[in-house]
Subunit: 213 residues, 2 copies
């Protein structure tokens, strides 16, 4: 499949095929499906992504995607604000919320440390996590990152950063007695949280263990 | 996966999941991928579909997608304009072109007759095919529709329509000696042309047989 009968068609296929996991043949099929829809339908399709990109807000507290400056979870009085669950991304927040096993708040890193992909600690929301903890009032940090090498590296890095913060600001942490835990390794090693079944994921929140750096 | 943290995100996921074969979980992954791209990249993505929908042209001769009123194949002097290959869609034109076995022109029906899906002869480009043949100068019609029940029904319907046109306008057809053929049934029964390997598809063009309604 190479010679497209139209440059406009080829450009649309190129864009669709730029999505991860979408090959050129599938992209062509999806674009021709779109082309069979009405003008308003195609406009609604395209505008949904333009609006999301232009108007999306990240919660100032937890950095999750939100429609407001502070997301509903962070602004809820019914959530336990002394427990922060550290996750890689938005999907992980949704997955944990779906288990119904967690009532604390979140901190969305937006990635994990990955030297292979050139992602360092400064590229993800670790500084803001340390600042959040340094403000006081946090009793527990639950590390709920993927059980991969990158996740483990990030867990360890966050543990060290929090230890350093504790030793340089003992007056904050003395009163709060901060506990750092990680989700139980019921989650199969090498898996993404997003694809873990709800029972396993829920249990791994309940059976979280102390983190031994 | 139900409660999205943002309505904008949910709307974008709904749109992505409206594409055939894209589930909600995959849609979320694709949307979050888009969200990580730059503003201009997302604009290029969305605009490719808007432009295609607004500016797309269908060739007045063969009804294939085109950038010009008459597509490059129909306007080429090096193609044999006395042979028309009737196909279901754009992908089929691209697949046959890729075999390098065909030098005639095409007629893109834009579908096949399917009572189950409510697609009748008037919903696809059959009238325009009969008109094209009635103008004269056509020696052969190659029926290259999918080897499905719908494809066979459409083959048979086109055959009858062309026979009727011949008997009501004998003066046109007397001189031209119109032959109606179909691609050899080397294509596995039940398959779409789009997914047939090039060798089988190429051979089926070369070994086309007379159509015996």
């Amino acid at each position: 499949m190479s010679d497209y009968p139209s440059i406009l068609l080829e450009q649309a296929v190129n864009q669709m095929a730029s999505l991860p996991g979408v090959g050129r043949r599938t992209a062509l099929r999806l674009v021709l499906h779109l082309l069979r829809q009405s003008d308003p339908e195609v406009e609604t399709f395209a505008n949904a992504f333009l609006r999301l990109k232009k108007e999306v807000v990240y919660c100032k507290e937890c950095h999750n995607i939100s429609d407001t400056e502070i997301c509903p979870i962070c602004s809820s009085a019914r959530r336990d604000h002394s427990t922060i669950c550290v996750v890689e991304n938005v999907q992980d927040v949704m997955s944990i919320e779906n288990t119904g096993q967690y009532n604390g708040v979140y901190h969305v890193l937006g990635g994990v440390i990955s030297p292979m992909e050139g992602i360092g600690p400064k590229d993800i929301e670790i500084d803001s996590l340390v600042e959040r903890v340094a403000k006081g009032g946090i009793d527990e940090i639950i590390l709920a990152l993927p059980t991969t090498m990158e996740g483990d590296t990030t867990n360890f890095y966050i543990y060290r950063r929090l230890q350093n913060a504790q030793s340089s600001n003992p007056q904050i942490f003395e009163s709060s007695n901060l506990k750092i835990t990680q989700i139980a390794r019921g989650v199969a090693v090498g898996n993404q949280l997003e694809y873990t079944d709800e029972i396993t994921l829920g249990r791994s929140i309940v059976n979280r263990t102390d983190f031994n750096g």
